[in-house]
Amino acid sequence: MAETILFYALAITAFSAAFAVVLQKSALGSAFALIVVLCSLSAIYGLLGSPILATLQIVIYAGAVMVLFLFVIMLLDVRREKGGGGPRSFVPLALLFAGLLVLQVGAVLVGSELVPQSAPFDGSAKAFARRLFSQDYVYVFEATSVLIVAALAGALALARRRR
């Protein structure tokens, strides 16, 4: 019971913060709203019984990615470039992608039962780690590192061109 209430509270927080991300006028406000979204999500992971996902969510998204966002917002002086208000031609494209997302989520929802199954599930860190590093995911895991290196190379290349 308590968990249900908590879940809905978190869900509403996440949802409204997500709206705030889009509707906020100031970029900084958006960023903070996004941090709220990420923290709520993290709490929901915790609620679902996977503390490790919850903390990883904080470590990577709230702790690192959002700091980069904040950095960019603060140090690039986004306010100065606010005036123009983006070209209109992006609107159809945005709608298209939004529609695709809705379809995707809808497909997942339709294919599954809406009532959550409370199958026994070990969300402990050890169980998580065992799955992650088992033979099943070894290629995916190694591919991740290639992905990271690719991202790194991209960032370096961009930075070099800027100079």
Partner: protein
């Protein structure tokens, strides 16, 4: 002993949390006094000695003064971010202490004043027993950047901003080394719970991670000093360069909160070093663990933490600070590779030993 109901458990945890916060803030004010007196001693000065016996009331006087100081927000500042920054800083600093064990369990006395279910119950001195305690610590420490970046940026002061930039880049660089230095002890304990890591070191000094994981301990000490911005890594607020760094424009209690956050962080990393590397509340020799039937765990714990805090002050009294590029080079080119190498090396050795 009967199991606790959840309100009882919640009451115990809340009381513990309150105690820890109060204790940390108390320790903060004592630390400011001790630091000033110790530095003065190292520098042939007297230090604060006028307020009360031996100047012991100096922190109280400072606190009162800071409370009554004028609050002001610079004209050019981003008002709400400027006010929120110290709150963010102190909150993240205090959040980190949740999963840290402060000593074994304390058995509640059988006072009549206490409710029936509490009497004689051993209470572990740890606010939350999280399955992923170390990861949680890592998460909270990455959040510590927010307060500083926000403080430095919102003031709209160039020196603050440079301080905030330096600080955040420094925290990124050393956080990594800090987090990686913990992996060694995790490998040994096979647990992300700090209480397990402490338990793993029971049985004498030769089992302490500071001995068997010496490189990790060294990396941790460097990284922790940089993480909390103490000399020789105090670049974020290098007063000779950046006036006062990210808190240049701060005054009164907002300034005090930023200062508090720094000291709380310093205490936290000392406590963590004790737990991760110095055997927590375990005595260096098993025979010294208790005297006259009393468990001296808390005493050992406090002593080790105090020694580390003294080390921080000692460093400040001895060393000049690094330059920014030297700092970054040391963090990225020495500590991070060393930490990764050490992890793989430790893993290989463990494998070889448990063959």
């Amino acid at each position: 002993m009967t199991a606790l109901t959840w309100p009882q458990e919640l009451a115990i945890r809340s009381a513990l949390a309150l105690t820890v916060v109060a204790f940390l803030l108390g320790l903060f004010s004592v630390m400011t006094y001790i630091e000033r007196r110790l530095l003065a001693f190292m520098q042939f000065r007297l230090g604060p000695n006028r307020t009360g016996p031996l100047g012991l009331f100096q922190p109280v006087a400072d606190g009162i003064k800071l409370f009554f100081k004028e609050e002001f927000v610079p004209q050019a500042a981003n008002r709400w971010a400027f006010i929120a920054a110290p709150a963010v800083a102190i909150t993240t600093a205090l959040m980190a202490v949740a999963v840290i064990p402060y000593g074994g369990a304390v058995t509640m006395p059988r006072f009549d004043l206490l409710p029936e279910w509490l009497r004689g119950r051993p209470i572990p001195l740890q606010i939350a027993h999280l399955d992923v305690g170390v990861l949680y610590l890592f998460a909270v420490s990455t959040l510590g950047v927010y307060g500083i970046v926000l403080a430095g940026w919102s003031a709209n002061n160039k020196w603050s901003l440079i301080g905030a930039l330096r600080s955040s880049a420094q925290m990124f660089s050393y956080e990594l080394a800090l987090g990686l230095s913990w992996v060694g002890p995790i490998l040994l304990a096979e647990s992300l719970r700090i209480e397990d890591i402490v338990a793993c070191q029971a049985g004498g000094i030769h089992r302490w991670n500071a001995i068997i994981q010496l490189p990790a301990f060294m990396i941790y000490l460097f990284a922790a000093t940089a993480e909390v911005g103490r000399l020789p890594f105090d670049l974020p607020e290098a007063e000779a360069e950046l006036v006062a760094g990210f808190h240049t424009e701060y005054a009164s209690m907002k300034f005090a909160l930023l200062q508090m956050a720094e000291y709380v962080n310093m205490i936290t990393v000392s406590v963590l070093a004790t737990d991760f590397f110095l055997g927590g509340w375990h005595a260096p020799l098993v025979s010294l663990q208790s005297a006259a039937g009393v468990n001296l765990g808390l005493l050992w714990f406090g002593g080790k933490t105090g020694a580390l805090l003294f080390l921080f002050i000692w460093l400040r009294g001895t060393l000049p600070r690094l330059r920014y590029d030297q700092l970054m080079r040391f963090g990225w080119k020495v500590l991070v590779p060393a930490a990764v190498m050490h992890i793989l090396g430790t893993a290989a050795v463990i494998l070889w030993l448990t063959r």
